[in-house]
């Protein structure tokens, strides 16, 4: 590795990103919580005992746990249809906490600002963060500001970290998928990534593209309330690398296969059209307001109903099944009835989008 340098593709969320995490970060930051590789770390509350990443033993009272996560946002352009970098920074961290089943409570916000950024732009972004946080029911309780020389950053980068609480009866992780589980998606795929992409390319469509950027904690709360405890096995928000990459991560972490019906995956016409034009595949395009759930079969119908009843989940659908066959591999049944591998994203399909 000695003469290698970091390539853009190391940040794409695909295979090179995974290699970087596994071969470098995990090697140095080796601990069982991080090794779970979930969207948020789930930790014991101070003063309460027992390893957080294991379910409570039978007969022992379960404790609430802390969920903790962080993410940085470097999207360009800073403002886009459906959101801006500030809204994205709040929603992204709220969603990472929500995917561990946590109720998000507190966020921090760090700003890296390039000299020359109009103050009005910054204020618009901060106001957007405040209103997004209020709607999501979280508070931004700590912050930091750094200004760097012109050229040392691209206008504005934001880091957010977040803390939430996981209820005692909630046990979700990327490694808990089981054969027979039903795969659900909460709505159409590719909206955020294609919105950013077409903004950059100056493409316009009859039905305009709008980012799906949204906080998912409300939807997750409804979902958890609608099904018996323990029946939601995994939750993920398919951001960088898109749905295909998320499903591959879940298949690998849980040691199961996943079968997906291409026709069942909802894609907006404007997203399909722009993907066709630019030679992209919506399965690999980022989402910022969608979740994928692996759900025990007996709870699938209640879960789907709960998702569809939520304002963000009207187009939720069952898109596939978890199987004991082909562990670690995701297989797509195409519209024509053929079966083929649906692999992870390799390299960079898109420029900076989140």
């Amino acid at each position: 590795m000695s003469d290698e340098v970091i390539l853009l593709a190391h940040g794409s969320g695909g295979k090179l990103s995974h290699d970087l995490v596994e071969r470098l970060f995990l090697r140095h930051f080796d601990n069982p919580t991080l090794l779970q590789l979930d969207d948020a770390a789930v930790l014991p509350m101070p003063g309460m005992s027992g390893p957080a990443h294991q379910p409570p033993r039978a007969g022992q009272p379960a404790n609430p746990r802390l969920a903790f996560t962080t993410d940085s946002y470097v999207v360009s352009p800073l403002f886009f249809p459906g959101g801006d970098i500030g809204k994205l920074a709040v929603c992204g961290t709220v969603n990472d906490l929500s995917m561990s089943g946590a109720r998000p409570l507190w966020l921090s916000a760090g700003f890296i600002i390039e000299e020359g950024l109009p103050l009005a732009d910054l204020e618009r972004i901060v106001a957007s963060m405040a209103s997004t946080a209020e709607e999501a029911g979280v508070q931004i309780v700590a912050g930091d500001t750094k200004v760097v020389d012109r050229g040392s950053a691209d206008r504005l980068f934001i880091n957010t970290a977040g803390v939430g609480v996981v209820a005692p009866d909630v046990e979700m992780s990327g490694d808990r998928g089981r054969a027979g589980d039903v795969v659900l998606i909460s709505g159409t795929i590719g909206d955020h990534g294609m919105t950013i992409m077409t903004q950059r390319e100056g493409l316009q469509f009859d039905s305009p593209l709008v980012s799906d950027c949204a906080a998912l904690n409300g939807m997750v709360a409804r979902l958890l309330a609608a099904v018996p405890a323990g029946s939601i096995h995994c939750l993920r928000d398919p951001t960088r690398g898109g749905l295909a990459t998320t499903l591959n991560e879940l298949a690998a972490r849980s040691g199961v296969g996943i079968e997906v019906e291409e026709m069942a995956v909802p894609v907006r016409d404007a997203v399909r059209g722009s993907c066709e034009l630019l030679g992209l595949d919506p399965f690999y395009v980022a989402n910022e307001g969608k979740l994928v759930a692996l759900v025990a079969p007996q709870a699938a119908s209640a879960a789907l109903t709960a998702l569809r009843a939520h304002p963000l989940g009207g187009e939720a659908n069952v898109i596939g099944q978890v199987t004991a066959d082909h562990p670690g591999r995701v297989v797509l049944r195409t519209a024509l009835g053929a079966r083929r591998v649906l692999d992870m994203l390799v390299g960079e399909q898109l420029p900076r989008i989140c």
Binding site: A338, R340, V341
Partner: protein, 363 residues
């Protein structure tokens, strides 16, 4: 979705598959010239739906893949010229030359930018008047006219800081080279839809006439391809090689005269080196002397160093159709899309990338 769903209709696909199944008696080997076809075939799983005795082989129709290492090295050396901005299509950035890629050059400080069209490269030149902007031009008859138009536009606008390294290639001579070599017995060819939109279906008449091999021009939707296979099977079974055109919504017999004329105005036909095929006479496009100042090859002198081929890589054989990607010993092991050794594993049109991404056995 209009203009897409009609060409992916499962019932019509089943009908065409049934027709192929009924009509096809003898084993046939067909080559899809175009990498875009290889990707569509694998992405929609058509190989698994066709009868076993209909063997599809990928051809040399991936511009990035057929670019010789020596040419790649020259482009990478150009990128390192101080102050120069090298613009090119996305795939080219990741293709390994003898030792490095343009991506490596970029990470080491070279200014390499991905563009979607040559006109974007012109824009880069316009907003950076004090820097030299080179467009690395790869592609077949489909992209060459747009590059020619950009050069003509640069001349009309007096844009002095723009030039093109032309690695453009022509498809009919490469098809001839494959048939002349006779290494792989082909009973029919699925003709490249976009190329033929430019050059016209009549440009392929030499195939049935000189070689007795039928060609079916196809679009890139599953039904286009199945229809082309069905037409080829019919012509082969009837022993009447000819040209069929299932992509009439885009392709005419005579092609696009405007595109052909701008191409001819700016480029001249020269021999070109192809990965896998070697030097093919009359298969390359060089910038005419009248436009010499837009020729990056003439404008910049660079020393790319000695050329090396990638050890064990069978991209050349894959491009000639003599092996399928999984028959290469590096495929999926030493060579993957994350760490590609040969260009066929990099490009969105590369056969190895298509087989790796879509074609591996699901079980």
């Amino acid at each position: 979705m209009k203009y897409i769903d009609e060409f992916r209709d499962p019932d019509l696909a089943r009908a065409l598959l049934g027709r192929i199944e009924r009509r096809s008696r003898q084993p046939v080997r067909l080559m899809e010239f175009c990498g875009g076809h290889t990707h569509a075939i694998l992405r929609y799983g058509l190989r698994t739906l066709l009868p076993d005795h209909v063997d599809l082989r990928s051809g040399p129709g991936c511009p990035v893949c057929v670019t010789a290492n020596a040419d790649l090295d020259r482009a990478i050396a150009l990128a390192h010229v101080p102050g120069l901005i090298l613009t090119t299509f996305g795939d080219m950035i990741r293709v390994p030359g003898s030792a490095h890629t343009l991506q490596d050059a970029k990470a080491a400080g070279a200014d390499v930018r991905m563009v979607y069209s040559t006109l974007d490269a012109l824009k880069v030149a316009r907003v950076n008047p004090d820097r030299q902007v080179v467009f690395l031009g790869v592609g077949f008859e489909t992209t060459a006219p747009t590059v020619a138009a950009a050069i003509a536009q640069a001349e009309a606008q007096g844009l002095e800081n723009f030039s093109v390294l032309s690695l453009h290639k022509l498809t009919p001579p490469a098809t001839r080279a494959i048939l002349d070599a006779g290494e792989v017995q082909l009973q029919g060819i699925i003709g490249p839809g976009h190329v033929t939109t430019i050059i016209g279906a009549d440009a392929w008449q030499f195939l049935p006439q000189d070689y007795g091999v039928p060609l079916a021009v196809a679009g890139f939707e599953p039904l286009d391809i199945l229809r082309a296979v069905a037409d080829l099977v019919d012509m082969i079974e009837e022993g009447r090689p000819g040209i069929s055109n299932s992509y009439a919504r885009s392709v005419s017999p005579e092609g696009n005269p405007t595109a052909l004329s701008i191409m001819d105005q700016v480029f001249e036909v020269v021999p070109a080196e192809w990965r896998g095929l070697g030097t093919v006479p009359g298969s390359g496009l060089a910038i005419r002397p009248e436009y010499a100042r837009f020729d990056a090859g003439r404008r910049f002198e660079v020393d790319p160093g000695p050329t090396r081929e990638h050890r064990g890589c069978r991209c050349g054989d894959v491009l000639r159709g003599t092996v399928t990607p999984p028959q290469c010993p590096l495929f999926g092991k030493a060579c993957t899309p994350a760490r590609p050794i040969g260009p066929c594993m990099v490009s969105a049109e590369g056969a190895c990338a298509a087989f790796y991404q879509f074609g591996r056995d699901p079980l």
